[in-house]
Each structure stands twice: as structure tokens, then as C-alpha cells.
């Protein structure tokens, strides 16, 4: 009954106290629930993406002695299989073609026999570049080697078994690595390189060409994609089903589980998404809790006085605790309801989903978890301190939280802040030696594990930084009275010593406020830096794949010189066009992609990043290439394979543009390139375009890298398609972002970014404004006394602004220092999220400027509102004096 009456009284007379606590709870609940919504939506999106990327879910290889038809029948009958077609694979000695007055010969290759309707059943396997999509199809690299076009005749094999076929189309095989995988290879085996020469034949043609020879039959199968939303659960289901099929085949076939492999990678990324939640969401929720506690603490004196009043009227400790619990329940209930509603609204606007999870259980888990967190925040802010007070304080002991209390907090006496920072540095150093390998996914093992130890670095970093910020803010108040008095003189004038003394005695409140502002600003800034860096790397990833804003790739067999750039340059929206040669070169027996560049201009055109090179920055290596006409950059793998030392002579075999014969061209190894625009992820070479053109007698360009003048790349690409006609392939970075890799960078983080940055602003404003305003508001009596003693508005302002400036400036300075450290650590520890890893952090100046303006603005507004309220002390305050 006491509790009910008390709550009624609070609702009638202390609404601000209830509302402020409920708002704090709401922020924490909304943040957690929103991030849960994101996480749930993201992981199911990842599964969908992973599934969508796999053109053939299973490649079931019939084993020697097994009957392919039986394997096909068993596969078709297997639960979950929705389509299955047999594909024949055979090795060939080589291909040759007589084109352009000369005969070209390739090395060994592969020949495939495809059944009717294969392209329709598995549409992602073959991408037609020229000619028809059916009939005899030549892989683009093979076509380039042979200088073959649709309509040309090529010879498959050599000697007596050679067969002549007419080429109907040139195709790309986007998933060639999977297509030619070694089915049944042991876990951890080195993946074998795909063949350079491939010809795809209709099954009857294959049967004719391969007659008498050996071949292997694979059953290509497509599965039902009604899989669990979580990549981990989907992986378990698919891989388990694959093993089950192998059991049914009883040794007659091995399953190449392409879908399982992709889901395996996706669960790795999903775990990183969960780590993102831990790193970016949990600190925010904890901060919301701390701010709520601080807001509630601002009214603690009044709460204590209320409790003392109740006690004088005979309330027992139990009744006081029940009153506090009732207030906790009301604040928490309102806060949780508000927070969940806000999360739903935020989810609908940021992720397009008004649900807390992809499934009912996920929704219950996330909303329940967020509500529990809200309850804990409210309990920690109201019930816990009240319980402590009720147990330890007497009626006469209701004292304000001021005083000497010169003794430092226990953690400061034991140096916990320094120890935490040292621990963080140690773990960070150890993690750096391990390459920040946070998520461990042993290949083929269903269990994904996280290197939780490495997570200690940022956790200890946050704790240590927060405690150290408190220690420093406190230290200045206690030990730096003279400095503080001097610093306050411009604001407080003749009252500076008095204001400094007041602040010193309010050290706990002020140091806590400084720490909260520092932590919220650091949270906002580090989140913004992380997100900006992430966005930039996602852009870099797409750019790396696409090459530039827009890339024009010439069709195989078509020879276009650099002068074609002039025509593209005239298209509206184009700022610059950079020609990029693309050839194939033999390094020993290895066929590698060779890119001929103009070192002086490719840097800007391809937006080369330092991280793409080894042994120097991008500009240094391009400078070195420019200074050595016969210089060449090779991959690290090639350096290792061939034991190269800088300056070594490398002889490459390149096709001569005039004779079509391969000729030896000498280069000198001058550096390592790890990534390059449009280049494949494995081995490739970068050389001077001029040197390559002179050595091969051809300046043919493989692709043109087009920079736009700010016009949308998609628009410019459309204009280029219209201008250039059907021949060349025009791709733009916008489209590329949607198809790039399976990793996290492919996940649209803009919703999460908006959400987190929004919350960071709310937290920063709450810490600097609300906590300050409530703190000052709760001291209305103090200001009323000063006013009654004759303090002018300006003099009252000295007290208000002195504290406000100390909290805001101190918080911002310490927050900046913390943000620098935490941002650096976050990006390093979460290296696995980035592809490619960033060279430097991206600083979102606009957001940081907004954060600064809002934080100082909130503190300013809090001060101005307080001062306005204090200008004329409430008569009630005076009557209480």
C-alpha cells in the first residue's frame, strides 16, 4: 500500500524524475533491440546471399566402377534435391586454331559434355560473352590464347584423336574454381588451380570427341533453398545432407558440397556480425545504463530525503526497499515499452523490418534480452542505491554527495585503470602477432570458434580508459585548484576561487559527468570512424573488383588501342579514362594475368591503396615502375614459388600481336602487388604498358577505367553502353557492390550505421545535457541560497558555466584521446571484417563535427535552461530556506 501511494505521489509531483529514468532505460533497450533486429536480419540475409552465389549446390562425382545413371537416380531421389543433371569431364592434350593467318596452340585443358537444358537448370555457371550460349563454347581465356571468335574452327586434342569443332560462343565461367575442384579432396588440401583451357560441348559432341577416351561423370544438383536463416544452421543441414547422400551412394559417388562450402564462409561472416554487435552495441547499452544511473543519481539526495521522511513516519527498511522496487518497476516498465517501440520504429526505417528477429524465437530472445537489460538498468539506477541507503543510512545520515572524501576510490588506489590499460595493450600485442585472427573456422568442421581472449583488448581498453578518465578529471579537481581557479577566471571572474572550491567538493559528480561525456563521445567517434572505414573499404572492395567507377572491358579477340579512350572521354559525366592492358603471360609453366599500366596516371585512376602493395606505398611502387621501363610487379606467391630477389631477371612468354606466337620478353622484378584493379585474387603481374606494347607489337587495351565527374556511375555506364554499342562489357561500381563477395562488406551496413550513430548522438547529448541539467536542477536549493545572498545572474552563471565547461571540455578532450585509441584497436582487432584491410582510418569529419556541436550545444542548452530557471529562485525554494 505504501508503495502504491508513493508511486501515485511520484506520478503527481515527481514526474520528471520518473520520466528521465524511463528515458534512460528506453535508450538502452532500444539500442539493444535495434541491433538485435539488425543482427537477425543480417544473418538471414547472409544465408540468402550465400545461397544465391552458388550456381551448382552439389557436384556428385561418380566413382570408378559406379554406374553414373544409378548415381544420378539416387541423387534425384535424395531429400532436398530439386534438380540434377549429368555432366561429363575429360582431359584434353590441348587446343589449336588457325586464325589470322597463323596457328595457335594451347597447353593441356579440359573438355566438358553438357546435357540439354543445362544452362537453364544452372543459370549462373555459364556467362555468355560473345556469340551463342549453346553449342560449342570456348572459355574466354582459351579464346584469347587461340585468338578464336564465334564461327572459328578449333581442334580439340592432337594426333589421331584430334577432332574439329566450330565455336558457337565465347563464355566466362565465373565459378571455375568450384567447377574444377577435386571432389573428395581431404580437408585442408591445397585447392588446385583451375585449367586455363576449357571447351564446353553438347553431350552428343562430347561423346563423339571423347569416344574411347576416359572421362568422369559428375551429377550437378540444385537443392531446395528453404534453409534456416542462420548460416551456421543452414551449413549444418546442407553438409549433413551431403554426407547422408554419400552414405546412400555407398561409395558410388562423392559429394562436392559447394553450397556447404559457401555457407561455411558465411557462418564465419555471421560470427563477425555478432562480434560487431558485441563491439558496437554492448558498449552503447552499458553507456545508456551508466547515464541512466547518473541521471538517477542526480536526484539521489532528494530520494534520500524522501526516504528519511518515510522512515521518520515509521517505514521499515523492507518498506523503503519495496517503495524503491515499485519506482524501479514503473520506470523500467515505461522505459522498456518506449524502448521496444522505438526499436521497432528504428528497425522499420533503418532495415525495413518491424520485427525483432527473423524467427519468432529470435524475436522473443532479442526483445526479452533487451527488456531484461532495461530492467537491470532501472534496478541499478534506483533499487540498488535505495537498498544500499536503506541498509546503511540513518534518518540523520541523509547527507548530500559532497564533502572532502579525499580518499580515492578503491580501484584508483589499486591502480585498476592502469592495470586494465596495460592488460589491453598486452592482449592487443599478442593478437597482432596472431594477425588479429578473431574468428577461427577450421575448414570442414561444423563448429566455429571465437578467439575470446583477443576480445579482452577492447573490453579492457574501454574499462581502463573510462577509469583513467575519471582519475584524471578527479585529479585536476583535487590537486589542480590553482590551475582550475586560473582557468575559470574568464568565466567566473572574482568568483573563480569560490567556483573552483565548489567544483572540488562536487568532484565525484563532476568526474563522473566528465567520464560519461568522454565515454559517450569516444563511443560516437569510434563507431563513426569504424563505420566510415568500413564503408570506405566496402567501396574499395567493389572498386578493386570493378577497377574504377565504370569499367569498359573489351570482348575477347577484339583489339582496341588506347586511342579509343578519346571517344569515351566525350561521354557526358566522364572525368577521365585510363587504358589498362590485359594479357596472359607464362611464368614458367604458369599462365598468369599481366596488366600493362601507365605508372604516372594509374595511381589516381585506379585509386590504388598502399595496402595493395608490399615493400612500399602505392605511389612509391608506381614511381619505381615508372623509373624502370622493364620493371614488373609480381604476386607474393610468385616471389615465393620462384625464390625471387629484387632486381632479378624474369623471362615471360607473351603472345606477339603480329605473329600470334609466344615470344620471350625479359622483365626485372621490382616489387610485390597483392591486389590490383580488375585483377584476380591469386597470381597476376603488373608492368609498364609502353614496354609491353613495344615488346609484343600490340598496344591492345583489355579494359578502360573510367572515372566519373560526380555523376552516378550507373548513369555514366548506361551512357557508355549507348555510345559504344553491344561489343564491350560496361560495368559500374554500384552494380558491383551488390554482387561483390560473400564477406561482410557485401552486407548493407548503412542501416546499422545510421542507427548506431543516431544512438551515439542521443547518448552524447544525454550525457552532456540531460545529466548536467538534472544535476544542476537538483541543486536549485544551493543556487536559491546564493541568489538570496545577492548573487547576480552573471554570478550564478559562473557556477553553472564553470561546471558546464569543465564537464564538456574535459569530456571532449578525454573522449578524443579514448576515441583515437579505441578506433585504432577496433579496426585492427576486427581486421577480418574488412576486405581489403584499410591502410588508414577514415575520419568522418562531418559526423564528428556534428557530435561536437551537439555535445557542446546540449551542455550549453542545459546551462542556459538552468540559469533561466535560477534567475528568479522559485518562491517555494525560498520558503524552504
Amino acid at each position: 500500500m505504501v508503495a502504491l501511494s508513493w508511486i501515485r505521489g511520484l506520478l503527481a509531483h515527481r514526474r520528471r524524475r520518473l520520466v528521465s529514468t524511463a528515458l534512460g532505460v528506453a535508450v538502452g533497450v532500444a539500442l539493444l533491440a535495434s541491433i538485435g533486429t539488425f543482427l537477425s536480419a543480417t544473418t538471414s540475409q547472409m544465408t540468402g546471399r550465400a545461397i544465391g552465389q552458388v550456381p551448382v549446390d552439389w557436384q556428385v562425382e561418380a566413382q570408378p566402377g559406379a554406374h553414373p545413371a544409378a548415381v544420378l537416380a539416387t541423387t534425384r531421389r535424395h531429400a532436398g534435391v530439386v534438380r540434377a543433371l549429368p555432366v561429363s569431364f575429360a582431359r584434353i592434350g590441348g587446343l589449336s586454331a588457325a586464325t589470322g593467318g597463323s596457328t595457335q596452340q594451347t597447353g593441356p585443358g579440359r573438355m566438358l559434355g553438357l546435357p540439354d537444358g543445362y544452362s537453364a537448370a544452372f543459370p549462373g555457371v555459364i556467362r555468355v560473352l560473345a556469340g551463342s550460349g549453346t553449342g560449342v563454347l570456348l572459355y574466354q581465356q582459351t579464346a584469347a590464347n587461340l585468338h578464336a571468335r564465334p564461327g572459328d574452327v578449333v581442334t580439340i586434342g592432337t594426333g589421331r584423336t584430334a577432332a574439329r569443332v566450330k565455336v558457337d560462343g565465347i563464355v566466362d565461367l565465373p565459378d571455375i574454381d568450384s567447377m574444377f575442384q577435386q571432389v573428395g579432396a581431404p580437408v585442408g588440401a591445397q585447392p588446385q588451380a583451375p585449367p586455363d583451357n576449357v571447351v564446353l560441348l553438347p553431350q552428343p559432341t562430347f561423346d563423339r570427341v571423347a569416344a574411347g577416351g576416359s572421362f568422369v561423370t559428375q551429377i550437378h544438383a540444385g537443392l531446395s533453398h528453404a534453409l534456416p536463416g542462420s548460416p551456421g544452421a543452414a551449413y549444418t543441414q546442407v553438409s549433413g545432407s551431403a554426407r547422408n547422400l554419400e552414405t546412400q551412394l555407398a561409395g558410388g559417388g562423392l559429394v562436392g558440397d559447394d553450397l556447404g562450402t559457401t555457407l561455411d564462409a558465411a557462418r564465419h561472416d555471421a560470427l563477425y556480425a555478432q562480434l560487431l554487435f558485441l563491439f558496437l552495441g554492448v558498449p552503447g547499452a552499458i553507456l545508456a545504463g551508466l547515464i541512466t544511473r547518473s541521471i538517477a543519481a542526480a536526484g539521489r539526495d532528494r530520494r534520500r530525503r524522501d526516504a528519511a521522511l518515510l522512515r521518520t513516519r515509521g517505514a521499515s527498511t523492507h518498506q523503503l526497499v519495496r517503495v524503491a522496487l515499485a519506482e524501479t518497476a514503473v520506470s523500467a516498465g515505461a522505459g522498456i515499452a518506449l524502448g521496444l517501440a522505438a526499436a521497432l520504429a528504428a528497425g522499420a526505417s533503418a532495415f525495413g523490418t518491424a520485427s525483432f528477429g527473423a524467427s519468432t524465437s529470435a524475436a522473443l530472445l532479442w526483445s526479452g534480452g533487451a527488456a531484461l537489460a532495461g530492467l537491470l538498468i532501472a534496478a541499478g539506477s534506483i533499487a540498488l542505491p535505495a537498498w544500499r541507503d536503506a541498509r546503511s543510512l540513518t534518518v540523520a545520515g541523509q547527507r548530500a554527495e559532497v564533502g572532502r572524501r579525499d580518499r580515492a576510490p578503491w580501484w584508483a588506489r589499486y591502480g585498476l585503470d592502469v592495470a586494465a590499460l596495460a592488460g589491453s595493450a598486452l592482449v592487443f600485442w599478442q593478437a597482432s602477432r596472431n594477425g588479429y585472427n578473431l574468428v577461427l573456422v577450421p575448414e570442414g568442421i561444423p563448429q566455429v570458434s571465437v578467439n575470446w581472449y583477443a576480445l579482452l583488448a577492447p573490453v579492457l581498453g574501454w574499462i581502463g580508459a573510462g577509469l583513467l578518465a575519471y582519475r584524471l578529471a578527479d585529479l585536476l579537481l583535487v590537486r589542480g585548484r590553482t590551475t582550475l581557479t586560473r582557468a575559470l577566471r574568464p568565466i567566473a571572474g572574482e568568483l573563480s576561487a569560490t567556483v573552483a572550491a565548489t567544483m572540488r567538493r562536487q568532484r565525484r559528480l563532476l568526474a563522473t559527468a566528465v567520464t560519461l561525456v568522454a565515454l559517450t563521445c569516444a563511443f560516437g567517434a569510434s563507431t563513426a570512424v569504424f563505420n566510415a572505414t568500413y564503408a570506405q573499404q566496402a567501396e574499395a572492395d567493389a572498386r578493386l573488383t570493378n577497377g574504377a567507377d565504370v569499367t569498359v572491358t573489351q570482348s575477347p579477340g577484339v583489339s582496341v588501342g588506347p586511342s579509343a579512350a578519346a571517344r569515351m572521354q566525350r561521354v557526358a559525366g566522364v572525368r577521365g579514362v585510363e587504358p589498362l592492358q590485359h594479357r596472359f603471360a607464362y611464368v614458367g609453366a604458369d599462365l598468369q594475368d599481366l596488366y600493362g599500366v601507365r605508372p604516372s596516371t594509374i595511381g589516381a585512376a585506379g585509386k590504388l591503396q598502399d595496402g595493395w602493395f608490399q615493400g612500399g606505398s602505392a605511389s612509391q611502387l608506381m614511381g619505381r615502375l615508372g623509373a624502370h621501363p622493364d620493371g614488373i610487379l609480381v604476386s607474393a606467391e610468385t616471389v615465393q614459388d620462384f625464390q625471387l630477389v629484387e632486381g632479378d631477371l624474369i623471362r615471360l612468354r607473351l603472345q606477339d600481336g603480329r605473329t600470334r606466337h609466344y615470344t620471350t620478353v625479359p622483365f626485372h622484378y621490382i616489387g610485390v602487388a597483392k591486389e590490383f584493379p580488375t585483377a584476380p585474387r591469386d597470381s597476376f603481374l603488373v608492368a609498364n604498358a609502353g614496354y609491353v606494347a613495344a615488346a609484343t607489337g600490340s598496344d591492345a587495351v583489355g579494359s578502360f577505367l573510367v572515372q566519373t565527374d560526380g555523376t552516378s556511375p550507373a548513369t555514366v555506364a548506361q551512357r557508355l553502353r549507348r555510345s559504344l554499342g553491344a561489343g564491350p562489357q560496361v560495368t559500374d561500381i554500384v552494380g558491383q557492390r551488390k554482387v561483390v563477395g560473400s564477406n561482410l562488406t557485401a552486407v548493407e551496413l548503412s542501416g546499422l550505421t545510421r542507427l548506431e550513430l543516431g544512438f551515439a548522438l542521443v547518448l552524447a547529448v544525454s550525457a552532456s545535457g540531460l545529466a548536467l541539467a538534472l544535476g544542476l536542477g537538483e541543486r536549485r536549493r544551493t543556487f536559491a541560497i546564493a541568489s538570496a545572498l545577492g548573487a547576480r545572474t552573471r554570478q550564478l552563471g559562473a557556477f553553472v558555466w564553470g561546471e558546464s565547461v569543465y564537464v564538456t571540455l574535459g569530456g571532449l578532450l578525454l573522449g578524443t584521446a579514448i576515441a583515437v585509441g579505441i578506433s585504432e584497436m577496433l579496426v585492427k582487432v576486427l581486421t577480418g571484417v574488412f576486405d581489403p584491410p584499410p591502410d588508414v582510418l577514415t575520419i568522418p569529419w562531418a559526423y564528428l563535427g556534428g557530435l561536437l556541436v551537439l555535445t557542446t550545444g546540449a551542455a550549453g542548452a542545459a546551462g542556459a535552461i538552468t540559469l533561466r530557471a535560477l534567475r528568479r529562485p522559485a518562491i517555494e525554494e525560498l520558503r524552504e530556506l
Partner: protein
């Protein structure tokens, strides 16, 4: 009979104060005419809610009348009163919790523009007069209620006021402490040559002052010298 040439420290001409408006309006003080002259020692008496504090607040310039005027012919206008010629001693704890006793006492002087050092010297002198020097460096939470009230008196005296207004200064004190505080107030007023107005419902306190003004239901009903007030 007072000398007509003396200029009043405070004049209330039909000053009244109403809180709130409409049907819930509460008249705290009916239209009142009164004046305080230098050297006056006035006790404002009456039951709780009779308007003592309201009248005192109007005299101190802490509040404004809703009807009539309050003026300070010998002291200046409202903004000139505090800190300076008018000092107020409040009923409840009125020391600023974050400041030491000496800093609290020095505060009105610092607010008036005195140099920090000079203000603290004056504060210590005021504390010495009241025998409170040993409390100078203590915080309000470290001293007793009676000591705090005496420190509040010291604070009122530090600025050499011409009018001391004390609102129930002994309301929360025991008999012994209350007597000590009144002693201090009278001695301080004499030392500063200031007029003293004390609101109280304690006859023992009122007895110590020369004049007694009685208030009932917001109306100043009786203004008479001490001997008349208590002789009956």
C-alpha cells in the same frame, strides 16, 4: 514617538502578497503599511501561516508584492540590497554544502566584489566575533545545526549590513542554542549599528526585542512596544 527626520530603511505601503490566482489563490499577506527605522529591534510574531515569512521576504526584496509597494528609502533600490546593506538569516540550513564555513561566510563579500583575500579576512573576523573560528575550515555537513545557524548569522554580519532580517532563526534549535543565537544577533546588530527584524513564534525570543508586531491570517494586527505586548 520616532523622530520624523529619520529616513526609513524599509517602507511597506499597502503591500500585499497573493500566491496563485483564481479560485485557488491564497492571500499570504493582506495590504500592510509599516516601516523599519535604523536601530529598530522588531519581533514579528504570529502563528504558522500568519504571513511572517512573506512580510520578511518582501522587506528583504526577495519577493515582490502583488499589490502596493515596498521601498528602501535609505538603502536604494532592490538590486542594491543584497549583497550589501540587507542581510538575511534563514530558518533552515542555508549554508552552501560544497563550501567551507569560512567560504560560506565570505561568499556575500565575494559576490559584492571584494577581493578574495579581503573577503576571507573579514569572514574570519566575523567568525571570531561569534567564537566560531575553529569551525572555519569545516564543511556544513561536519558541524551541528546550532553551529550552522550561528555561522549563518556570522555570514549575515560579515558585510556590515544596515538591516538584518532573520526568519525563524531559532525554529530548529533547542532552548539553549536558540538563546545563544539571539544573543549573537543582538550583539551583531549592535556592533554593526543595524536594525534587526526577527520573525518568531517563540515568545522567549520575541521578549528579547524592543518591538513586537503581531500577524494573524496575513494581517498585521498589532504594532506595539515590548512592554505593551507582554505586560498583559
Amino acid at each position: 514617538m520616532r523622530a520624523p527626520d529619520r529616513t526609513a530603511l524599509v517602507r511597506c505601503d499597502g503591500a500585499a502578497r497573493t500566491f496563485g490566482s483564481g479560485p485557488t489563490a491564497t492571500v499570504a499577506l493582506q495590504p500592510t503599511d509599516c516601516r523599519i527605522e535604523p536601530g529598530d529591534r522588531v519581533a514579528l510574531t504570529g502563528p504558522s501561516g500568519s504571513g511572517k515569512s512573506t512580510l520578511l521576504h518582501l522587506m528583504a526584496g526577495l519577493d515582490e508584492p502583488t499589490v502596493g509597494t515596498v521601498s528602501w528609502p535609505a538603502l536604494g533600490t532592490r538590486p542594491d540590497l543584497r549583497p550589501g546593506p540587507v542581510a538575511v538569516v534563514f530558518q533552515g540550513p542555508s549554508l552552501l554544502p560544497p563550501l567551507t564555513v569560512a567560504e560560506n561566510v565570505a561568499l556575500p563579500l565575494v559576490l559584492a566584489g571584494a577581493a578574495d583575500g579581503a573577503a576571507h579576512d573579514a569572514a574570519r573576523a566575523a567568525l571570531a566575533r561569534l567564537g566560531l573560528v575553529e569551525l572555519a575550515d569545516k564543511l556544513p555537513e561536519e558541524i551541528s545545526g546550532g553551529q550552522a545557524q550561528r555561522v549563518a548569522v556570522a555570514r549575515a554580519l560579515a558585510g556590515s549590513p544596515r538591516l538584518i532580517l532573520a526568519d525563524e532563526p531559532t525554529g530548529q534549535l533547542d532552548h539553549v542554542n536558540a538563546g545563544a543565537v539571539v544573543d549573537v544577533l543582538l550583539a551583531a546588530a549592535a556592533h554593526a549599528g543595524a536594525a534587526l527584524v526577527v520573525s518568531t513564534h517563540d515568545p522567549a525570543v520575541a521578549l528579547r526585542l524592543a518591538d513586537v508586531w503581531e500577524l494573524h491570517g496575513g494581517r498585521l494586527t498589532t504594532v506595539r512596544p515590548q512592554e505593551d505586548a507582554w505586560s498583559r
